[in-house]
C-alpha cells in the first residue's frame, strides 16, 4: 500500500515524508481491525513529531523510524479479528485516537484518556497517513447514515478536544452568562459551534487573524474581538465584570496569564493550549474564588456525542483537503497558516 513515512527528525523541519509502497498491516490479535483510510487529519502534534519533540516519549530506543504518522482517522472496515462483533467489513467508521485497555479502573469510570495501558496509532505505532492502518474494536464508532469519513476525520482529535472543553464550559453557564473562546482555529471553531448548541450563554470569540474573526462571526459568535492590548478592560466592560468561563486554546505567548484576569467572581478558566506558565497570586484565586483547570483530549463517548451533533448538522469541521501524494505541501501550508480550519490528507 501507499504510505507517507518519516525517516528523520529535524527541529528545523527541513525534511519531507517519503511516499512509498509498504506492506499493509495485518490482524495479529482477536480484537484488532484493519481500516481502509478515508481521510486523516493533519495535527500540530504531527509537526512536533517531525521536530523531534516527541522522540523521548515515543521513540526512546531510537528504532521507531521509518514510521507512519496520522492519529485523526476515519475510513471503512477492511478486516476484523476473530473476537470483533460490533463492526464488519465495509462499515464506515471514525477512530478514537486512543486504544484504551477497557479493564483498568480509569477505563471502567469512562476516563479512557487516563488509562495507562493503551496505545495511540500514529504516535509511536503506525497511523493513518497511508491506505490502511490498524486499530482495535473498542476505538471505533460507526458513522451515521450519509456521513462520509472525509467530512469528519479531524473530529477524532481536534474535534473531541474542543468538544470536551466546550462541554465542561456549558455545564458552568446559564443564559445571560458569558463565555470567551481564545483562538478560533481548528479546535476553537468547533468549541464555538458546540457552545452555540448546548448552552444559552453569550459567546465572545477572540482571535488576531482576520480570517478567523470572519469565521467566528459566521458561526454565530455574539461578540468578536481581535485580542488587542486592552482586552481585559474591554471584556470587563462588555460583560459587566468579567466572563463566567474562558477557554484558552493558545496557552502560551502571554495568553496563559491573560485569561484568568478576565474572569468574573466565581469564574473558571479551561486551558487547552499549552506552552506558557501561569503565575497567579493565591489571594486572587481566593478573593475572586476563580478556578483554573486543564482539559485533555476527549473520551470515547465524547466523540460519540460530537458525531451526533455533526450528523444533525449542528457542528461542522472547516477543512482543506490534500492528497496523500501532496502531504508535504499540506505540512508546509500548515506551518505557514495558508489555510483556516483543519488540513486533511486523503489517500
Amino acid at each position: 500500500m501507499k504510505a507517507a513515512r518519516l525517516y528523520e527528525y529535524d527541529p528545523d523541519m527541513n525534511v519531507e515524508l517519503k511516499i512509498e509502497n509498504v506492506p499493509p498491516p495485518t490482524i495479529t490479535a482477536p480484537d484488532e481491525v484493519i481500516v481502509k483510510v478515508g481521510a486523516a487529519g493533519l495535527c500540530r502534534t504531527d509537526l512536533h513529531i517531525i521536530e523531534g519533540v516527541w522522540k523521548d516519549i515515543m521513540d526512546t530506543e531510537g528504532n521507531l523510524l521509518p514510521y507512519v504518522m496520522g492519529h485523526e482517522n476515519a475510513g471503512w472496515i477492511e478486516d476484523v479479528g476473530s473476537a470483533v462483533t460490533s463492526v464488519k467489513p465495509g462499515d464506515a467508521v471514525i477512530c478514537h485516537p486512543f486504544r484504551s485497555c477497557g479493564i483498568c479502573l480509569d477505563c471502567r469510570y469512562g476516563h479512557d484518556m487516563y488509562c495507562d495501558h493503551g496505545q495511540f496509532p500514529g504516535l509511536g505505532i503506525d497511523g493513518g497517513f497511508a491506505e490502511y492502518f490498524k486499530t482495535n474494536e473498542s476505538s471505533l464508532i460507526k458513522l451515521n447514515t450519509g456521513i462520509t469519513p472525509l467530512e469528519v476525520a479531524p473530529m477524532a482529535d481536534a474535534g473531541i478536544t474542543a468538544y470536551r472543553a466546550a462541554k465542561k464550559a456549558a455545564k458552568l453557564l446559564n443564559p445571560g452568562g458569558y463565555v470567551m473562546i481564545l483562538g478560533v482555529g481548528g479546535l476553537g471553531h468547533i468549541a464555538l459551534q458546540v457552545l452555540k448548541e448546548t448552552c444559552g450563554a453569550r459567546i465572545i470569540a477572540v482571535d488576531r487573524e482576520p480570517a478567523a474573526q470572519v469565521l467566528a462571526k459566521e458561526l454565530g459568535a455574539d461578540i468578536v474581538l481581535d485580542g488587542g492590548p486592552n482586552l481585559i478592560e474591554e471584556i470587563k466592560e462588555l460583560t459587566g465584570g468579567g466572563v463566567h468561563v474562558a477557554i484558552d486554546f493558545v496557552g502560551e505567548h502571554g495568553t496563559e496569564n491573560t485569561c484568568w484576569k478576565l474572569l468574573r467572581q466565581g469564574g473558571e478558566l479551561i486551558m487547552v493550549g499549552y506552552g506558557g506558565t501561569i503565575e497567579v497570586p493565591t489571594l486572587e484565586l481566593v478573593a475572586n474564588e476563580i478556578k483554573i483547570g486543564g482539559s485533555l483530549v476527549g473520551d470515547f463517548v465524547e466523540l460519540v456525542e460530537l458525531m451526533e451533533l455533526n450528523a444533525d448538522g449542528k457542528v461542522k469541521m472547516h477543512q482543506t483537503e490534500y492528497s496523500l501524494a501532496n502531504i508535504n505541501q499540506a505540512i508546509s501550508d500548515f506551518k505557514d497558516r495558508k489555510f483556516t480550519g483543519r488540513g486533511v490528507i486523503v489517500p
Copy 2:
C-alpha cells in the same frame, strides 16, 4: 383606575368580569412598589379561579370578592416604598408572580417557590388585570434595553414554568439523545425553544392540534407527531428504545400514563400538567431505572435567565392581545381555544 373585577364564582363560567373604576393601590410598607401594568397574561389558573376551584385555598372566609385577578404581569414602576433601592419610577420591569419572604431557609437556598411566607398578587390579593397593581421589590426584574412589557408579560408564569422543566431536562440530555415535549401550547412552545438553545439533543414535539404542530415545526422541533394511539411504539421505533427525557404539559386524560412507557432505560419523566393519576408498577421503575418527578413554577433566577434568552432573541412568547375592556372576550376565546400561544391583556 380601571380594573376588571370578579364578583362571583361559577363552575359553568357564565359570569363576566366587571370593568370598573376603583381606587389605585398605595404603598403601605417600605419594600412595596406600585407597577403601572403594561400587559398581563391570561392563564388557565384564571379560568379555574372563576370556576371556584381555588375558593377553598385563597378565599376561605368568603370575603375576597370583588377582586382583581392577573398574576403574569409586566409594566413600569410608578411608585416605590422607602426601603426600595434597586428600581425607580419609570423603570420597565417584569414581576415574578410570587412575593417570597427572603428570610426563610427555602428562600436562602434559592427555592423561592417553597417559601411558606409569601404572597401571589392575582391569587388572593389584587393582581394585574388593572391599570396598576402592587408587589414588592424582591419580585422585580428590570427589562433589558429594547424589551417592552407587552412582549414578555406571560413569561412571568407560563414562561418560567416551561423554562424550569426545560432546564431540568437539558441537564439530563446529551447530543444524540431524545427529549419529548407533550403539548405545544403556551408552556410547551417555550420549553421547545429553550431546549433548542440549551442542549444538543433531538426534540420530539407531540400535539393533537394541527396549528400547534405547525408552530412546533417552525420553532425547530426535529420530529413532530400527533400523538395517535400508537405513540408508544412509534417513539420507541424512532428513538431506538425510547426517549431519554419526556416533559408532559398535559398530565391528564391518559397522557399521565403514556409518558413513562416511552422512556428508555435510565430515562426521566418531568410532569408539569396535572389532573390524572399515575399508576406505575414498581417493577417497571426498578427494572428500567426510570424516574418520574413533578415540576413547579420557576424560581426568581429562572425568570432572570429566561429574560436573558428572550433579550438575545432566542425565546419568544407567541401571543394574542386583548384590551382590558375586552377581557371577557379573551376569556371566552381562551376557553374555546380560538388562539394559539398565550392571551395577553393590555390595560
Copy 3:
C-alpha cells in the same frame, strides 16, 4: 467438583438442590477465568428461581436444568484465559455479577447494567454454589490486603444494590436533612452504613422486625421506627414536614404507596424493592415537586467503591454461614427468616 444443582422448578418450593459431583468448568475463550469459590451469597432471587419465576426469562427452551445457581461470588483465581492480564492464579477476587460486553455505548458510559450483550453467571448459566465457577476478566475486582472472600461475597449483589441507592441518596442530602430507609435487611443494613459514612444527614430506619431494629440502632441510625399505622404523621412530625429522601427496600404490600407521602417538598423516593404498583396523583407530584425513581443493581465501579469502604472498616456485611452440603437448610432458614442480614454458602 462438588456442586448444588437445581433439577426442578416448584412454586411451593418443596424441592431440594442436589449436592453432587460434576465436571469443573474450563476456559473456552481468551478473556475467561475460573474462580475457586470462597463463598457465595444466597439471594431472594435464588428462591424466585426455584419457584420458577425466572423460567420464562432464563430458561425459555426448557433445557437449562440441572444447573448451578449462585450469583454473589468471591474466591480465588484458579485459571485464566490467554488474553487475561490483570489477575493471576491465587489472587483473591470478588466477582461483579454481570459479565458486560465492554464495547456497547452503555458500557462505555459506565452503565454496565444497561448493557444488552452481557451474561449473569448463576442466572441462566452455571454460578457459584459449587467449588468452581467461570466468569470473565472484566467482572473481577482484586480484594484488598487482609480481606477474605468469605467476608464479602454478598457485596457482589446485595451490597452494590444497596450502595447504588445510598449513593444516589447521599448526593441529594445535606447536613440537617433526613433520609428514611424502609427495610433494614440484607440490603438496607448496607445502605444504612454507607449513608452514615457519606452524607451528614440524619437517618431514620424503619423495620417491623425487632432484630432489624436492634441492628439499625447498632449501626448508628439516628431514629428507629417500627413502621406502624401512623408512620406518615410520625415522620412528618419528627422531621418538620417530611424526609428529603426515602429509600424503599420493600416496594410491596403497601409500602410502595407510603413512602412518597412521607417526602418533603422537593423530596425524592428511591425504589429498590418491587412488587406493588404506585398510584400517585400528578397534582401531588407537581405541587410538592417530588420525584419517584427506581434503582438497579450497582455498576462495576460501585462495587469497587463499596469494597474500599469495606476495606477501611466502614461497611460490613452481617451474615450467617452454611456449608455447601447444608445449602438446603440455608434456603429453608432464609424462607423462614431464621437469620438476620445475609446467608452465605461456603463450599
Copy 4:
C-alpha cells in the same frame, strides 16, 4: 456597655485594645437586631486589622478608629427592628458575618458572599468584642436546642470557610479516594471533621506542629504527616499516584506550589490560605488535567448546614476561652501560637 476598641494601627502590633465603657448600639432600621454577645471568635483577620493591612479597604477616610472588632459572633437577641419576624428577644443565635442585601442577583442565586451591597460587622463597622453589637435579621441562625453561643461562635467564619472547602471536596471524592488537608489549625480541624462525616474517602492530614498532628489523629485522619521535604514523593507513594483532592489552608511559604504537584490525574486543589503566588506550567495543567481553585467564606446556608452537623455532635470547635478583659492576652497568645484550635472572647 463594655467594649474592646482599637485606637491605632501598628504593623509591629505593639498596641493594645482599650477596654472601656461605650454607649450600646441601637436599632435604626426596621430589619436590624441587637445581639447580646455570648462569645466572639478571635481571627487572624483581627491581627491583620491591627497591623493596618485592612486600612485601605475599610478605613479609606481614616476616621474609623476607635472601633470594635469581632466578626465571629454568637449570642442572644436583645432587641429587634419593626420588620423582624423570624427571631425575638431571648433567642440564642449565631450570626453569619456578612449582612448581604438579599436583592441583588448574586444574593438570589444564594451566593451571598458575591453580594456587592453588604456589610461586615467587625470589619469597618462595630463588631462583637463588646457586650452588644448590631446586625440584621437576614444574617441570623437560631441555635438548635441545647447549643450555647459559647460553643459555636467561631463557626461563623473559621467554621464556614472550612466547611465550604470541605463540601466542595466531598463532591469530588468517592470511597477509596484520597483527600489531603494541609494545615490542621482553626480551619483545618473543622474541614477534617466535615470530610470524615460527608465522604467515604481517606483523609491525609499534614501539619508541622506536633499538637496539630495529635489533634488530627484524634479527629480520625487516616494518615498524619509532618510535611517534610519529601512530602510529594511520600504522598504519591502512599496513594498510588497522588491525591484526588487537596485543600491548602496555608497558601504561602511554598505550600502554594507543593499541593498541585501532589494531585493525581484529574485531581483538584482547593486554596483557602493565601499569600504566595502559584506558578504552574500550562502543560502540567493540561497533561494531568488538574484544577486549581480558590475558596471563600461560606454562604449563609453553609453556616446552617454546619450548625446542624454541630448539633448532631459530628463537628466540634476546639477552642480556648478568654474574658473580654483579657482580650489583649488572647491576641498575644494567638500570635505566639500558645493555643491550638481557636481563641474565643467571652464578654
